[in-house]
Amino acid sequence: MTIDLKTIKHIAKLSRISVSDEKAKKLAGDLNSIFDFIEKLNELKTEKITPLTSIAETTLKLRHDEIKSKNIREQIVKNSPEKNEDYFVVPKVIE
């Protein structure tokens, strides 16, 4: 299998990472060599195997739905690159 430039651009779009043509070419090379390596899994027949979805074979514990952190609004926006009082600021989305 080969991943072409068009697919690279599509994955980049889904990943929300901007890629130049030059970077896409480099990524295509890297990803193709990595997928060549991954394809080894196709040697195995796995139709009847149940996938492992959780490594810790315990049931998740239930807990009461209680508010544990109060008045942390300031802490939440503290590290924001751009804020306005209690709000995160983003580039304008509605004209």
Binding site: I11, I17, V19, I34, T46, I55, I76, P81, K92
Partner: protein
Amino acid sequence: MSDITKQTLSDLVKNIKAKKLSSEEVTKDFIQRSEKSNKLNAYITEDFSNALQKAKKFDQKPDFNLKLPGIPIAVKDLFCTKDVMTTAGSKILNNFIPTYESTVTQNIWNEGGILLGKLNCDEFAMGSSNETSYFGNVQNPINENLVPGGSSGGSASAVCAQLTPITIGTDTGGSIRQPASFTGTVGLKPTYGSCSRYGIVAFASSLDQAGPMAQNVKDCALLQEIISTYDTKDSTSIDFKRSQYSQDLNKNIKGKKIGIPKEYRVDGMPKEIEDLWQKGIDYVKDCGAEIINISLPHTKYALPTYYIVAPAEASSNLARYDGVKYGFRAKGENLIDMYEKTRSEGFGAEVQRRIMIGTYVLSSGYYDAYYLKAQKVRKLIKNDFDEAYKKVDAILTPSTPSSAFKIGEKKDDPVSMYLNDIFTVPVNLAGLPGISIPAGHDSKGYPLGLQIIGKAFDEQNILNIAYAMEDKINFKNKISDWWIK
């Protein structure tokens, strides 16, 4: 008292408790040595003046019942530390100051530990050489031209160079054990669910585990005893009865059954590694353990499985870095453009590669072929271990297929870099504990490690085996302080 930084953790604790040393004296010495060791680039953030203040405060009102009474400790920069910058080795978190503390670090401070600073690591713990860090590569104290391994490269380098008596790292595919092996130090990756993941910058959530790194097995056991706690803030934290690992540590491994998996004899493995493994086998036999040949037939599929599962989880975990809530933001013409530029400029090449792989294997039409397939093979790998543990108590393997390699040697070849983790990745996939201990040197004088893999929750057993072997091996690290002018 001279040579404070050369002392083991156990000796420092003893000397502080006996009032032969003050926390201030100890902290000062580690700070001074760290300051002289800038060339190693082990630190991303130093917190020295705060550390000294905390040490003085401890000395004014010492509590000698604590397990780490006034002991200064630097930690991997993947653990969130309240009010101290936490970068995960990435530009995208270059200005991030957590408003909360990770459970694992909190456990250390609760026992009297004092934060010295934050240690360098591969970006988001993605790497095996510490070369993907935005803050530059770290040098291996063993030799100027060598990588310290990764992703916990700064941690391994700092313990090896005695800039901190002990440290903590994280291990997703070998990130504690491989750098421990490359620097002649001890590193334990605990059972999945043993140490809380709360407050650790996430890479691959079903594989990530925090663990101790130290100069010897006893110190490693003590730190594990402190950091391993059940935590309701991490829904995958497991509530099991934890041993008092350092108190219960003993060298009696007579009658233990140790498995030797034939599949770990990989093609192209240097003879030195093979010989080291044989030496390890002889050591455990000398201790009265029984050697049993076993098979882990799906070993060769572990790395391909890992390189689907880990990037898939990473691509989801790293979706949160959008330039809105925290971290770096690039200017964009509109919202989407801002996201794309932020992530393109904020993440390094390896992280972008893994996000792309993860996005691809989870994307519509490919999910079954890759992600589901990998989860099925992961089950087969876990079944291999379950079968083996019907016959043996622990498994002995080399930690890595080679000793530390040169800086830059594998940087441009992702697959050859990934092959470093061939012996460590299966352990993460199966959620098991594994410890790497220094076991000898190669012909160049670089350290080599052996790995002991245990049953789930059986840390005490592998620590005991490591403790018994350590005694026989009598390993001495060759450090010349070349980096100090």
